[in-house]
Symmetry: C2
């Protein structure tokens, strides 16, 4: 199996997980810690796209992240708290929804594509791996509902806000699937601005019909 | 783990996999065989959404389908030929794309939703489980590209047909994710015609911009 061919974008490869460290910066220790935490979270996400929750060990996360298991315990407590963090959309939803509603379609499409292209991650795509994780898949679904869908719906005016939020997010999830999992060749070759122009109107039509 | 709570729509449960049998029909033997094959294929799909290809045994498929392993061998040859069939989109693409291009947006949205609601399956959603399957995930991606995306692109007029086909399919895949995996409550409660009215324009806009 080639790591390059089988790595989806909702993940980090060791090579793109280099830890930034700027000795001239104001708080290098804190910045290193944040970068290391991010690498650990991305390693956990990578494994959650491929293995059932029950089969993933802290050791496997540590190996993929290139850190020691005790370091993971130091930052995240234990396996349960680490995965609770990975299964939360709280932080991602903050960035995804950070625009006025009238511009939110373009912002969300751009945010998903930039996350995929620049960070090799997707803010919401991990919901698609819910079937792998049994009861933990239900946690993922419940989090998605309360932290993403309900939060978007609460910002929409007009009737059927809940349904329109789900349909807008459906379009965004599909974009992530086509880019990061199906790896559509044309999509991956196109300019980001062109994709936003072509796809955002469909999302915006749900938000402000 | 509750079977009801954790069964995604891209699958069959034993209870909805009853074999139709009409003794007054013209060829009951053939019809039973086709129904049994369909049940076996759906059992294999169910398992492919939850386990790596390498970890799935014929015995597990047989147990889920409620048939004997030799019956699977009789119909499909061996595990490789069974999974080659499950990883092909050929048959599904035929139904999904079976409408004139000017009506194809509405047809495809309706086809995905009807498949989910009536058959507990989705014609294309299994592409999202590609990351689970290593090299076999690449087969799934290549099949999706040639059997679905390229076939749709070939029917579109105008520039950038390949990109527009990918974007139209992205919207459809997202609808399947939101309905069958994230299990959006509003989406699942809405009338099918209403969903087609709301979502199909976004798909059609890619097909005939």
């Amino acid at each position: 199996m080639s790591a390059v061919r089988t790595t989806p974008s909702d993940s980090a490869t060791p090579s793109d997980a280099a830890l930034p460290s700027d000795p001239a910066g104001p708080a290098p220790g804190r910045r290193d810690a944040e970068a290391t935490k991010a690498v650990i979270l991305r390693a956990a996400r990578y494994l959650l796209a491929r293995h059932a929750h029950a089969d993933i060990t802290l050791k496997a996360v540590a190996e993929r992240a290139g850190v020691s298991p005790p370091l993971i315990l130091k930052y995240f407590g234990n396996k349960d708290t680490l995965f609770a963090r990975v299964m939360s959309f709280e932080t991602d939803a903050g960035g995804l929804l950070d625009a006025p509603v009238r511009e939110l379609g373009r912002h969300m499409v751009r945010y998903v594509l930039e996350s995929q292209v620049e960070r090799g991650a997707d803010p919401v795509l991990r919901i698609v791996f819910a079937p792998l994780h049994g009861e933990h898949g239900e946690v993922l679904r419940a989090n998605f509902r309360s932290q993403v869908t309900a939060r978007l719906a609460a910002r929409l005016d007009g009737p059927d806000a809940g349904l329109r939020a789900e349909l807008a997010l459906a379009a965004l999830l599909g974009l992530g699937v086509m880019f990061g999992i199906a790896r559509g060749a044309e999509l991956r070759a196109a300019a980001l601005d062109e994709l936003v122009d072509r796809y955002a109107p469909a999302v915006q039509a749900q938000l402000t019909p």
